[in-house]
Subunit: 283 residues, 2 copies
């Protein structure tokens, strides 16, 4: 059975550890903070933990679960300690900037993105089964050793994820639509409501806000650092989706300005129908 | 104890009936469809029901719970049957176009908007306590008899709603921000995702869509007819909020185009903070 290494013991890294340790794998965890290392051991997330990357010298498969901006620097620091056959994989929510660089530094790298998360973060809320029935995207390129891809895929399936394979650019474009654009649209909604200059209206709006506002604004009220990183690392795709989004807003404005009520209702019928294609299992 | 009349036996009218009937009021319901009248009696929503407005000749307080576009026509047809002291109120989600006209036709009219709802509609899903802890906005004007306002307020409090008083334009502007704009923003998100011309990407996006997309797109996948009516009856306020929203989208685009990552993160910090002002009770 493989030894598993995890760098970055937060919600994702911790939950990977919990699941695989339960399945009998030996888990080695690295976190910059000694306190997190101790917590990881106490929570049963890892067998051994250390702030030193040298702990991972016997690991066969290493998950890099740091924030996106630390993935490549972490990988570079890892190189001296790796066994030559070690497989590296990451869990970053953007793939082009990671995969291109990482596979040049360490050819035995398999880009990955398990799409699970919670509003909160941190090892304290790591949980068994976090990835169950969630998408797990793998983005190998033509030089990635097939054997390594199969090993990472097998682990993703042990986590009970739905595994998808695609090119890094396909991943980045798809998540721009369904994951990154919603954050910017949702944040813009909150910002627009706060732009109202009549403070009595703002107060009333706050009192009257209910489930519709709550749901539509949820991801716009999320982690600002994460939102910034999405935009920084998936810049071109987010811009592309934001421009399309603005075009759609313009169409709504136009229909309403011109009192094209039938076209507006038709458009809303389409969005009602099309939403179901994205959420076939919602009741 | 007052006799209560309800015109329009759907989710809202039916739920008003259920609650007030349980409190001992005698409820008279009018629905265009005989079948709905029979259902209303069978479900215990009303004591008597009929497709004829003449049923309401003994009603002291009448709730008009029809779709927005039918409120004024219904009110006009009601006049010949009303006792001179009868109080009329409505439950429409837009107030300026209703209140101005209604109070000229029948001075004893109190504009209202109980802000409760479900995705589904119809008398079958009417429920006890639908309005509990939900906002109930009343928009009397300077000519509305105070005694009548107090009676409607008392009923709203019996429904255990949170009662708010404001001017019709304040209501319409506030709900444009937190209720109507979210629908258009959310629908634009769905439309933007469907505008992707690479069908493999659309398919992948549909497979990867998760809770973020689900929540942000929810109200954009709602009843198209309702969305159209919001826009038709609250046209100027919706346009005003849509223009502000587009300005905010433009700011996000600008920050990302110019790689102003600090400004972007700052903006997302503000939206994270400001969202809490709208949802103080969310955990």
């Amino acid at each position: 059975m493989m030894n598993i290494g995890i760098v970055g013991l937060g919600l994702i890294g911790g939950s990977v550890g919990l699941d695989l340790r339960t399945l009998g794998y030996r888990i080695f965890g690295v976190s910059r903070r000694e306190q997190t290392c101790q917590k990881a051991i106490a929570l049963g997330v890892v067998d051994e933990a250390s702030p030193e990357l040298s702990l991972l010298s016997t690991a066969d498969l290493i998950f890099i679960c740091t924030p996106i901006c630390d993935i490549i620097p972490t990988l570079e620091k890892l190189i001296p300690f790796l066994s030559p056959s070690a497989i590296l994989t990451d869990v970053g929510s953007v793939k082009i900037p990671i995969v291109e660089e990482a596979s040049q530094i360490w050819p035995n790298f398999v880009g990955g993105h398990p799409m699970a998360g919670k509003t909160e973060s941190g090892i304290e809320i790591a949980q068994l089964g976090l990835f169950e029935d969630r998408p797990y995207v793998l983005t190998p390129n033509e030089n990635t050793p097939l054997e390594s891809v199969k090993k990472v895929e097998a682990i993703a399936r042990l986590l009970k994820s739905q595994v998808y394979f695609c090119e890094p650019y396909e991943h980045d474009r798809a998540v721009a639509w369904v994951s990154h654009l919603p954050v910017m649209a949702s944040a813009s909604l909150i910002a627009a409501c706060m732009s109202e200059s009549n403070l009595a209206i703002v107060k009333l709006a706050q009192e009257l806000a209910s489930s519709g506002f709550q749901d539509t604004s949820r991801v716009g009220g999320g982690n600002p650092e994460l939102g910034r990183m999405m935009a920084e690392y998936n810049r071109l795709e987010i811009l592309r989706s934001l421009h399309s989004f603005r075009d759609e807003i313009d169409k709504f404005i136009q229909h309403i300005e011109q009192k094209n009520w039938q076209s507006l209702e038709q458009k809303l019928k389409h969005t009602q129908q099309n939403r179901k294609l994205f959420l076939p299992h919602e009741n």
